[in-house]
């Protein structure tokens, strides 16, 4: 009601606004709406219009309601009044208590300042006291610190002064590591003051250190020390800035020497074992060998960890030297088991080295070296074989020259060389088999190569053998001339024999040796494969067979040629020397016939030693039994004599011409076979042909013709005796007589009785001569 009635001054209005703003949720809306929407409930809003409210109330409610309302309102006003009263009171109470508190505070504060000043005073005095203590203690503390430092310094100085003795003690107790530690610790001081204050001390300790260094060096060099000790010593030396390199070099040198002596030993051992032929001994000694070498290298490597390069070089040198000595051994013609032994020694050595020194790739290196060595071995074996064969061939010849001739030198030579070829080849194959069968790693790797080498070796060997044969046979002109000049007839004679031996030997190689070797190679040396398929196998037996077949034929022909040429010289002399036109009557068979037969006989003995007998031989023997009887009473021959006797020259010529035309069909020069008879027959045929040609070059008088007739007639029987083709010989002999008659100015042949008589005389004479000589 008071709010309604009493005009509100500013203060009150502000109060009200504040209150209403405090209580009203939305003052603006209330004030805005208050004019328009006035309700009975708007009594609590700020925009409450008492008049309006009165009007509204009066309009809306009846009297009773108004009264009730009046009562309610009066109650509410009363309540509000008491609430207000309460609030004011409470407020007042609070004011009072606050004032009281303030009053009490005021009273309390009054004594505080004095206390505070007291406190300050006390604190000030404490501070001044502590300052005093501090200053009084400072000097002493500094002194103590100084003393402490001096003490430390003194301790160090003491240490340095003690160093020599300490080092001495260390030397005594061999505690070099400690000594080095001490010394290196003292080093900076020595470096700083060594020239002035600690001169003596430095000198003494340096002396001690030099002893230590010396000892260490000795230790390093001493083989009896354990490797670790030596390695430590090297480390210590390095710490002392000692030049290890020189030591290293020195040690390397000793190592090298050591290895070389080792190797020398091994060589000595292997040679002695070779000499004494005790492989077991060699094995045992060689087992001991490699270990030491590789241990030495290993130790060195431990001692000098950064020395691979030198060691690799050293190891490779070692292997190279090994193989060099091996090659020397190979040059001494060792057997393959020995070679395997040597290779095994080297290989175990290499394997051990490889373990110690994997960087060196020693196995590859030694594989290469072994490659060379084994190849050389194969080559040298083959050249030895070649040498053996040619030795076997020429041995007999030299023996013959010395006068210790055997009965069948050619046969001995042939058998010897045959043996040399076949047994030598077999021995070589056996030898190489050992190489192949051995399971040594080195050899297993080289297996294919070895197979190829062996095959190539045989191929090459036979080719060279062929060349050798050729040069032996004197196909090489310079040699034959040389021999011919120096050795004279003996040498020439033997050379012919040698050629015959070569011929038969070639046949033997072609027919027996090659198949056997081929078989052997196929059995154990097949599948080399390194050469590749396009090249085929290295050993081509077909080619070798071909070479030797042709060589055999060549030598056989050469032999025949040599022999024929010799006889040809004889015949040439016989026919060119006399003046045939003024020839005297024949009194006896000319002596060239004897020489001719002698030569044939010599050929016969040579041929019999070397060549097999032909199949037809027996047959001919039975035909003509006994030489003397046949020469006298062969009906066929007698018939011929009578015929040639009775017919006169002209008609005889014509007839012989005609006969020849038909006879011509006969092959005079048939293929030479490797039989005694075939060779002798060919020689005889060729000689008779030459005789024939020589006759054709001359002009004869009657006596000359008769002499030829006589000689030829005498030849007939002995020649038939030794040849297989009697018809051809007859033909050729007839031809000679016919030609002589053609070239004769007065072709009247000798009467058969005279002819017979002269021949008989000659036969008797030869018989007599043989009787005298025997």
């Amino acid at each position: 009601m008071a709010a309604d009635d009493i005009p509100l001054d500013d203060k009150a209005k502000r109060m009200r606004d504040l209150l209403s703003s405090f209580y009203a949720p939305d003052p603006s809306t209330a004030s805005n709406t208050s004019s328009k929407y006035v309700s009975l409930d708007a009594i609590n809003t700020t925009s409450f219009d008492a008049d309006q409210y009165m009007i509204l109330l009066a309009q809306k409610s009846n009297l009773e309601g108004l009264l009730q309302r009046h009562v309610e309102m009066a109650a509410e006003i009363k309540n509000l009044d008491t609430d207000l009263q309460m609030l004011v009171y409470e407020n007042y109470n609070k004011f009072i208590s606050a004032t009281e508190t303030i009053k009490r505070m005021k009273n309390n504060i009054v004594g505080m300042e004095a206390n505070m000043e007291q406190l300050l005073e006390k604190i000030m005095s404490v501070q001044s006291r502590s300052d005093g203590v501090n200053t009084s203690l400072f000097e002493k503390r500094e002194h103590i610190e100084k003393l402490h430092r001096t003490r430390n310094l003194l301790r160090k100085v003491q240490f340095i002064y003690d160093l020599p003795t300490r080092l001495g003690k260390c030397i005594k107790s061999e505690a070099y590591a400690d000594a080095v530690r001490f010394y290196t610790g003292a080093m900076p001081i020595f470096e700083a003051y060594g020239d002035s204050s600690f001169q003596d001390c430095k000198r003494a300790s340096e002396e001690a250190m030099s002893i230590i260094i010396k000892n260490l060096q000795e230790k390093v060099c001493l083989d009896s020390e354990s490797v670790q000790v030596r390695a430590e010593a090297v480390v210590l030396l390095k710490q002392l800035n000692f030049q290890v390199d020189s030591l290293k070099a020195k040690l390397l040198e000793t190592l090298e020497k050591y290895l070389i002596t080792l190797q020398l030993n091994s060589r000595a051992i292997s040679t002695t074992s070779l000499d004494s032929d005790e492989p077991s001994k060699q094995g045992s000694s060689s087992d001991a060998l490699p270990g030491t070498a590789h241990e030495a290298v290993h130790a060195y490597r431990l001692i000098f960890p950064d020395s691979e390069d030198q060691l690799i070089k050293l190891a490779q040198d070692l292997v190279t030297k090994h193989f060099e000595s091996t090659q020397q051994q190979i040059r001494k013609q060792i057997s393959s088991s020995d070679l395997v032994g040597i290779l095994r020694v080297i290989w175990t050595d290499v394997l051990l080295m490889e373990e110690v020194l994997p960087e060196a790739a020693l196995s590859d290196f030694s594989l290469e070296a072994a490659h060379v060595a084994v190849k050389q071995y194969v080559a040298s074996t083959f050249s030895n074989l070649l040498l053996n064969v040619s030795d076997a061939l020429t041995k007999v010849q030299t023996k013959q020259k010395e006068g210790a001739g055997e009965e069948h030198p050619l046969q001995v030579s042939l058998e010897g060389s045959k043996k040399a070829v076949i047994q030598g080849s077999m021995a070589i194959l056996l030898d190489f088999r050992q190489l192949l069968d051995d399971n040594l790693g080195l050899l297993v790797k080289l297996r294919d190569f070895i197979i190829d080498w062996v095959q190539e070796g045989f191929q090459d060997f036979f080719r060279r053998l062929d060349d050798q044969f050729l040069s032996l046979s004197g196909k090489n002109h310079s040699i034959s001339e040389h021999q011919g000049l120096t050795e004279g007839t003996q040498g020439e004679k033997f050379l012919a024999g040698l050629v015959l031996v070569l011929a038969q030997l070639s046949v033997f190689i072609e027919q027996s040796a090659i198949p056997r070797i081929t078989e052997e190679i196929a059995a154990s040396f097949s599948g080399g494969g390194v050469r590749g398929y396009e090249n085929g196998p290295a050993f081509v037996p077909g080619e070798i067979c071909r070479i030797f077949r042709s060589a055999g034929e060549k030598f056989l022909h050469l032999y025949i040629n040599m022999r024929t040429q010799k006889i040809s010289v004889l015949l040439r002399k016989r026919f060119t020397t006399p003046n045939w036109v003024k020839h005297k009557e024949p009194r006896e068979v000319h002596m060239f016939v004897d020489l001719f037969l002698q030569e044939l006989e010599a050929i016969g003995t040579e041929v019999k030693q070397i060549l097999p007998q032909g199949l037809h031989r027996k047959h001919h023997r039975t035909d003509s039994n006994g030489s003397t009887t046949s020469s006298r009473s062969n009906p066929l021959r007698d018939d011929k004599i009578t015929r040639s006797n009775t017919q006169r020259a002209r008609s005889q010529l014509l007839e012989s011409h005609l006969a020849k035309l038909f006879k011509q069909k006969m092959e005079i020069f048939t293929k030479v076979e490797y039989t005694q008879e075939s060779v002798v027959t060919t020689v005889v045929k060729l000689c008779l042909k030459s005789l024939h040609e020589f006759v054709r070059l001359q002009t004869f008088n009657r006596s000359g013709l008769q002499q030829i007739q006589l000689d030829i007639q005498f030849l007939r029987a002995p020649l038939k005796e030794i040849v297989e083709d009697e018809a051809a010989i007859d033909f050729l002999l007839d031809e000679v007589i016919v030609s002589a008659a053609e070239r004769c100015l007065d072709p009247i042949p000798l009467e058969p009785p005279i002819l017979d008589k002269l021949i008989q005389a000659k036969l008797a004479k030869t018989k007599e001569q043989t009787a005298v000589s025997s």
Binding site: H477, S478, E481, Q565, S568, T576, Q664, T699, R743
Partner: protein
């Protein structure tokens, strides 16, 4: 023998030992040959290959007083040739001329131009200056070598120089080097000797046995072919006289004559060993093959 199958034959009445091509006849391929008969009358045949090359025609037939051992045609006059002949006991050599118009005469007689009568022993062969008009001849007997000067117009011959081959050398034949007209090769029992005609001295020799005949290769210098008694034919390079550069095997017996083909560089080998009424061209060796195989090509 296989060479004869496609050959052309010409029959002589008697056996013959020699045949020579007529080099001076440049229009035709002609040969001259003479028979060797001790007792019959010997003949000289002039043969010409027909233009078709299928036939051998006898161009002339002349009687010769003795058996002919060697015959050589003059290189500059086709009507002149030389013979070496024997009358059984004695030997002689002469230069003959075929008469002009010989085809029209009934029985033409050979005209003897000169007699090479300085020989004392068995004459082996007469060599003409290799080519061109030169009046020089070389005759070889058992022991000596004669150089003759021939004057065909004056019908006279004269010995210019003479040299003995030395003791124990029985000369058997010879050849005049077409590349070096001062060089003559002579064959004997144990060697081939080379002579310089200017000095008549021996310049060189090859030690080789039983050489019967030799001929120079007309195309290649320094190449000499020899035939031997014992079936050998060798080709030599005279710059390397130690060893023959090639040996030709295949003959079974004596080879009497070798000739080099002047046009094609082929070597003809005449082997008279089997029969003596025929001459057999035994085999023809291709020299091209030989040179390539001996490294001279």
């Amino acid at each position: 023998m296989q060479g004869g199958s496609s050959g052309i034959g010409y029959g002589l009445k008697y056996q013959a030992r020699c045949i020579a091509d007529v080099k001076a006849d440049t229009d035709h391929t002609s040969f001259i040959t003479g028979t060797l008969s001790l007792k019959e009358e010997n003949e000289v045949h002039l043969i010409r290959l027909s233009s078709g090359g299928t036939e051998l025609i006898c161009e002339g037939l002349f009687s010769h007083p003795n058996e002919i051992w060697d015959l050589a045609s003059c290189p500059y006059d086709q009507r002149i040739f030389s013979t070496v002949f024997s009358s059984g006991e004695s030997y002689g050599a002469a230069v003959w001329q075929i008469p002009e118009l010989y085809g029209q005469l009934n029985s033409p007689q050979l005209e003897r131009i000169a007699v090479l009568d300085a020989h004392a022993c068995k004459i082996k062969c007469v060599l003409w200056w290799p080519s061109g008009r030169h009046d020089k001849l070389v005759s070889i007997d058992d022991e000596n070598l004669f150089l003759w000067s021939l004057d065909s117009s004056r019908k006279a011959s004269q010995v210019i120089s003479k040299e003995s081959a030395g003791m124990l050398h029985y000369l058997s034949g010879g050849a005049w080097d077409p590349h070096d007209v001062n060089a003559v090769a002579s064959t004997c029992e144990w060697s081939i000797q080379f002579w310089d005609l200017r000095t008549m001295k021996k310049t060189n020799s090859i030690e080789h046995a039983h050489v019967r005949n030799a001929d120079y290769d007309t195309k290649k210098k320094h190449i000499l072919v020899t035939a031997e008694d014992e079936s050998g034919i060798c080709i030599w390079d005279l710059r390397m006289p130690k060893v023959p550069i090639k040996e030709l095997p295949g003959h079974t017996h004596w080879t009497w004559t070798v000739k080099c083909n002047p046009e094609y560089g082929l070597i003809l080998v005449l082997s008279l060993s089997l029969t003596y009424t025929q001459t057999l061209i035994y085999e023809i060796w291709k020299t091209r093959y030989l040179y390539s195989s001996s490294g001279l090509a």
